[in-house]
């Protein structure tokens, strides 16, 4: 009896909090649809908010950051996880700082420094800093994986005459795939959702990202509630889709305490 009661409580609590979590999101969908299944509002928001441009820019920036930080993190994580060299612990400590580093401090000089090199108002103004922070976490994340691989595996490869590159490429990387995919999913989410960096770096509307476009769209007095809601749904949709498809990887990241926000 007690078990059944406890189970009832468990499910009630879970259902209640799930309902609270989705209610605002379902609500916004209803507002966006305008009480019917017509998509005029979405088309309107898409055009008026220039969201197509935003989508393109977000895709370009996010893809570049995800690929670049995955490659760099695998390399650095491999070194820090399987090799010992002078200063390796110091280097790792420096990377760790980046895992919790708030962007609010470095962004001030970043803007003025990148501006001096003409990199503001270009994709690079967002890609480079975003990659930098993602690499900090990525190194931490991939190092943890490489540390967990059996030493015997690497030793065997070495005895077989494999170079460090071959060991990584043919033996460790295939094993690292799920871990790497989780990293890429997390970096995708952080980069896609970034607002502050884009706000500061991208003032030219033709290269602004999707979240920035939404903020600009809201700031315009012509925007009515249902097209604003449609805009919000459009901005949410890509990341929610990726989340649903790859939710295992999001969850793995979260459960390892990896989600820096």
């Amino acid at each position: 009896m007690r078990l059944r009661f406890e189970q009832g409580v468990t499910y009630t609590v879970l259902l209640l909090f799930c309902a609270v979590a989705v209610a605002p999101l379902l609500g916004i969908l209803v507002v966006a649809l305008g009480g019917g299944a017509h998509f005029d509002n979405f088309v309107g928001a898409w055009n008026a908010g220039d969201l197509g441009t935003g989508l393109r820019n977000s895709v370009v920036i996010t893809t570049t950051v995800v690929v670049a930080s995955a490659v760099l993190s695998v390399l650095s994580g491999y070194a820090l996880g399987t090799m010992r060299f002078r200063g390796d612990t110091l280097i790792f400590a420096v990377f760790l700082i980046g895992v919790v580093m708030p962007f609010e401090a470095p962004i001030v000089p970043l803007y003025y420094d990148l501006r001096a090199f003409g990199l503001t108002d270009s994709y690079w103004g967002v890609i480079l800093p975003d990659t930098a922070l993602s690499v900090a976490f990525g190194t931490f994340w991939m190092r943890a994986f490489f540390l967990s691989t059996p030493v015997s595996l690497i030793e065997a490869a070495r005895i077989d005459g494999a170079s460090s590159r071959a060991t990584l490429q043919h033996i460790l990387l295939p094993l690292a795939r799920p871990h790497l995919l989780t990293l890429m999913v997390l970096v995708f989410m952080w980069t896609w959702n970034d607002f502050l960096l884009s706000l500061v770096m991208l003032s030219n509307p033709s290269i602004q990202t999707l979240p920035l476009k939404l903020a600009v769209f809201q700031g315009r007095y012509v925007t009515d509630v249902s097209s604003l809601a449609s805009g919000a749904v459009i901005v949410m949709l890509p990341v929610v889709l990726v989340y649903i498809i790859l939710q295992r990887h999001f969850m793995r990241g979260a459960l390892s305490g990896a989600l820096k926000l």
């Binding site: 501006r115 503001t120 108002d121 003032s203 030219n204 600009v216 700031g219 007095y221 012509v222």
Partner: protein, 457 residues
């Protein structure tokens, strides 16, 4: 256009503290680089040999306005056979970031927009990177074309140290004006007429409230609209000379004057009497502007940059006027300013043609095109450009009246880099009864006094 307004605010507050004369840093002046405009005739507009005129604006993102410029480019090309215009649009931030480098290189455009103020145009003038336009102004008669007060914003002493006087280095093609829009049908239904004194206006508000109509559609969740309402009242109460002196930091004036305190008290009073849309501190643009368009509200206090939108939504039912002065018979005073001025770099390859271009885009013919496309030009268009009785015609009439009386006042928050933030927050506290008019004014004066003291050396 509101986004432009935000950019404009940002540009002034971030980059153009108007009163810092001596602060501008190590920008070695090379006066030899600046030949007099008249002598530099490397190319002539009359020649029909193929010439490319390189034009650069700083308004990337203002799609409609750039569209107007592109149309003007075509007309200019037709008038000048053999001339091809190469027009680029830079985001505003780039103008201040890279203009210094660009104008000192061989890649300098023939015509470019420049930001007003010491830290932008002042630096360029000091570095000898801009040509004085005075000889062109004489030749083309620009002085008579635009309000003298607004023309001053393109002037600098040739050492770049004195703003608002000296040579003319830039001239704006478009401008902004703040005033009131009103719902004609509602005004008529309430049996009211446009007020001619401030007291009449407050009476109209009371009548509307009594009749269950929101007197002023207003929402301040986006934090910037409140300044316009406050400044409109200051415009109606304070002497026009004081208001100009305040912004330009002249004559040791203070923010804490009886008129400013009175304006703050009046704004608070309106809020407490329920003259604004209920819940106004929690209302965003989409709520209150759309509300006004949909008939909720008799008046709305905002700028000419809203005109196209209101006209589209309300047609002939919307009109525009300036808040009348407290004293009967005085001509209204209002907040207005020119957009980014157009200038000719010293290293321009076709300066004469560039001057002809500037002349064209500030002509009354161009003004007509700006008006037709919903924009507000600095130069008055030919009579009859705007349909009789439209809000556009109202705005043009108000502009002409202000010009005639020289009653333009710059945006108040240009006075110091921090004043926009100080006032916008203070006004909300005033409206929410979190502060008193005198405390609000003291805070404004603290901001103003600190800046004036720190920059007067």
């Amino acid at each position: 256009m509101r986004f432009n307004r935000i950019q404009r605010r940002r540009r002034w507050s971030l980059l153009a503290p108007l009163v810092i004369a001596g602060v501008v840093g190590a920008c070695s002046s090379s006066a030899s680089l600046a030949p007099s405009a008249a002598s530099s005739t490397t190319s002539s507009a009359a020649s029909s040999a193929p010439v490319t005129l390189v034009v650069q604006d700083g308004e990337a993102g203002s799609t409609e306005r750039i569209g107007t410029y592109k149309l003007l480019d075509q007309q200019f090309e037709q008038q000048h056979p053999g001339v091809t215009i190469q027009h680029t649009s830079e985001p505003f931030a780039n103008l201040t970031a890279t203009l210094n480098l660009q104008l000192s290189s061989s890649a300098a455009p023939d015509v470019t927009q420049v930001n007003q103020g010491y830290q932008s145009m002042g630096i360029l003038v000091k570095g000898g990177l801009l040509q004085p336009l005075d000889s062109y102004a004489t030749k083309y008669g620009w002085g008579a074309r635009q309000p003298p007060t607004l023309l001053d914003a393109g002037k600098f002493s040739s050492d770049g140290k004195q703003f608002g006087t000296g040579n003319l280095y830039g001239i704006s093609a478009t401008g902004d004006l703040v005033g009131l829009y009103y719902n004609k049908a509602t005004l008529q239904k309430l049996g009211l007429e446009l007020p001619t004194t401030l007291a009449q206006f407050t009476n109209d508000l009371a009548v509307a409230k009594q009749a269950g109509v929101t007197p002023i559609a207003f929402g301040d969740l986006d934090k910037s609209p409140g300044i316009h309402d406050f400044q409109a009242i200051v415009n109606a109460l304070a002497p026009v000379k004081y208001q100009n002196d305040f912004v330009y930091g002249r004559g040791g004036v203070s923010f804490a004057t009886p008129e400013v305190i009175q304006a703050a008290a009046m704004l608070q009073d309106w809020a407490n009497k329920g003259y604004f849309t209920p819940g106004f501190l929690g209302l965003g643009y989409s709520d209150w502007v759309n509300g006004f368009q949909g008939g909720k509200g008799l008046f709305i206090i905002t700028g000419s940059w809203y005109n196209t939108q209101l006209l589209d939504a309300m047609g002939s039912n919307v009109g525009f006027f300036l808040l009348p002065r407290a004293t009967a018979g005085e001509a209204p005073v209002a907040t207005g300013a020119g957009g980014l001025p157009w200038a000719i770099p010293t290293r321009a390859k076709n300066p004469t043609l560039a001057a002809a271009y500037i002349d064209f885009i500030t002509s009354s013919q161009a003004a007509a095109l700006f008006v037709q496309r919903g924009d507000n030009p600095m130069t008055s268009p030919p009579a009859g450009t705007a349909p009789q009785g439209s809000s556009t015609a109202d705005i043009l009439a108000a502009w002409a009246q202000l010009e005639q009386n020289d009653n333009f006042v710059p945006f108040m928050d240009w006075a110091t880099p921090t004043l926009y933030n100080t006032l916008s927050a203070g006004i909300e506290e005033l409206l929410g009864n979190q502060t008193t008019p005198s405390t609000f004014v003291q805070q404004g004066q603290a901001d103003y006094g600190k800046f004036v003291t720190s920059s007067s050396h």
